[in-house]
Symmetry: C2
Subunit: 413 residues, 2 copies
């Protein structure tokens, strides 16, 4: 069992949190900005100082490689990302990337020779807040190419993706550029939970069984505006009456009847928006999540059917469109077992859990066995400058990663 | 029975609709604008040409007076308003004002001497769209003074009320300014229904029994924003889930169980308004109407109680404030009977009905017996350039007004 250097991990987290630090203690280090380049240069410098190989690919994914005894075997890969939300926290992405690097350093400190090479990766633009979509780096890696339309994308700050990508790659001349995509043996990612359950249940690590699928719907219900005072019930075609009846039923049914389901309405509005006028149109968004594709279908049907039904009762018209879809992913079972065995040896309490949010592991899972280790974050806060991870939890996650990595590099799946 | 000149009434409606005419066939003649002054000058000119007395008061209410046999008796008054919404119709207000004037002209044509003097009035700023509140003229008349704060009001176009009022009064030097408020015997106002029921039921006139009271509530429900994917049901404090549960119940209960009740939510929103975030706060407006004050209280309590209950279930906080209140009014029963008797003699089918919207008659009713006669408007459309009244319906309303007025001027209540 390799010994993790907890104070070094903590110092590294502080060091990287200083790059793009915000006054409120968070981080603004959006993808492909100068801050992101700064963080990449720092990680490269640290890696080269330890004698690791460093290279990047055409989408600026940054790889650090520690040689193995059988160095031509497909490497075991660990990592996450270094970019952040505009008012992001210190741990989202950085914890997984720096934990992976800490494992490499600890192996080096202990002069452990692994059978396979072991790598740490920082994927490009996981957040997707400057350039959409998120997870560009892991997505391009898993498909082996960059979708052509990405180059034309304009960032939230007006910058062109193609230019920012090129400048980012060129700002790291120490890291040669290699072709996108290469065989890997397995991938393990440490990440903060970004939800409250581990903290609430007092469990230090989660072994992630998969990532929920997501569907987004835009819903418009159209009726007829009319005077709130002069229009009796029989003459109303009230789209908000129809929509709230359906939503109340959906809130009542979907999540309480299925613990794996998520149903969220984040946006709602009515036009013309007069206090004394029945709306002529109301719109809302719906976010549906579920780990099983067939349940996503069923829930989407239930939403459409409930809204169509109540709209019909009010003689309203309905327009529903699916604006986003991400199929669920199930992480490799054997890989989960290795992590669980390592947790057992470390005497770490763990639970199996789904990830509600996307992660790079979702895309890597398309080309290699992948899995994730979650650590608790305070009150579930994330994408928030107040994001906080207890250093004991960070250390536990890193230890579990190290133990998992050495098992995988030695014995395999 | 005095003979109404239907083609003259129609020509007058056309003549006034030309003042502030919009390209889509509506009228933009907002209170105290040049268009409003133009309409007041035209009505004054027509009145002076018939030998009627014309005067105004300090809030620019415009009065036209035809002498009676006992000319010092309190006058019978008829009328409505000449101002419009920005994209208003040709009939809202103008029909009642010009019908009143038509009654005076018809009496003059027929050389009928009434016992009491009979007056037509055009109240200032009924609509309240340029300067709030609406019904300024009738409100000031009924209280005998202008609330001091009105003078400081800034219009939707930036104009100062005090200046616009002064200029409007000064633009009509033919009409001497008299003191606000004077005794009147009774007041009858013809108006378009602004709702669909008369047309739908094929009834040419409504005898208005009263005006619903109104309450407006601003409702905020506060929970906690969290990630749509990572936050399980047990960790949600979803204010929109709470609000829709309450609204669905209120839509289901209030109007279906009480045909006189009106419950409308015209505005709703959620913040931060992200498709993949549970809202931290949702707000909506509620418009409640009822003819009975105690039912207004009960419905308001029901709304507050339902929202508080569902918010508690979701561990959300509630902030409800009453932003507007207008008590209901019941029109004089004897006056209704006179109108009903007149309708009987004219062989006009009628129904008793409530007014859902405010009207000047609501305020006049505070100082004298008042009542209203509604005529159908096509599809209930009003505050809309497509507002339309069939000329037979306009004529029927005017005939009923004439017959009511002559009865009242002769026999009284």
């Amino acid at each position: 069992m390799v010994e993790i250097n907890g104070s070094r991990l903590e110092a590294r987290l502080d060091q990287f949190a200083a790059i793009g630090a915000t006054p409120k203690g968070g981080v603004n280090r959006q993808a492909l900005t100068e801050g992101d380049r700064h963080a990449r240069r720092l990680l490269t410098k640290l890696a080269l100082a330890r004698g690791f190989d460093v290279f990047q690919d055409q989408v600026a994914n940054l790889f650090i490689r520690r040689r193995g005894r059988y160095d031509d075997l497909p490497p075991l890969m660990m990592g996450s990302h270094l970019d952040s939300q505009p008012t992001g926290g210190r741990f989202d992405g950085a914890l997984g990337t720096l934990s992976a690097f800490e494992v490499l350093e600890s192996l080096e400190d202990a002069s452990v020779e692994t059978e396979r090479p072991i790598m740490a990766v920082s994927w490009t633009n996981e957040e997707g807040c400057r350039f959409a979509p998120g997870c560009m780096g892991s997505m391009a890696f898993s498909r082996g190419s960059i979708p052509g339309e990405w180059y034309e994308k304009t960032g939230s700050d007006g910058a062109l993706f193609a230019n920012e990508l090129k400048s980012t790659i060129e700002s790291l001349p120490e890291a040669p550029v290699r072709a996108l995509g290469f065989p890997i043996y397995a991938y393990v990612e440490v990440h903060i939970e970004q939800g409250p359950s581990l903290e609430a249940e007092g469990i230090p690590v989660g072994v992630v069984t998969g990532i929920q699928g997501t569907r987004w719907l835009d819903i418009a219900v159209k009726g007829q505006t009319a005077h709130a005072g002069t229009t009796g019930l029989a003459y109303r075609r009230d789209p908000l009456g129809a929509l709230t009846a359906a939503l109340a039923q959906l809130y009542h049914n979907i999540m309480p009847s299925d613990p794996d389901a998520r149903f969220t309405v984040g946006r709602i509005s009515a036009s013309p928006g007069s206090v004394n006028a029945i709306p002529d149109e109301v719109m809302c968004t719906v976010d549906i999540r579920h780990p099983q594709p067939e349940r996503l279908d069923e829930i989407e049907k239930e939403v459409i059917s409930a809204i169509t039904y109540t709209a019909d009762l009010q003689h309203c018209d309905v327009d529903i469109s699916r604006t986003f879809e991400m199929p669920p992913c199930t992480f490799n079972q054997n890989l989960q077992e290795v992590i669980i065995a390592a947790a057992g040896q470390l005497d770490l309490e763990w639970k199996g859990m789904l990830s509600g949010a996307f992660h790079d592991a979702l895309f890597v899972n398309r080309v290699a066995p992948a899995c994730m280790i979650f650590v608790p974050c305070h009150k579930g806060l994330s994408h928030n400058e107040a994001e906080y991870v207890d250093s004991l939890h960070a250390l536990a996650g890193c230890r579990l990663l190290a133990d998992t990595a050495t098992r995988l590099a030695a014995y395999g799946l």
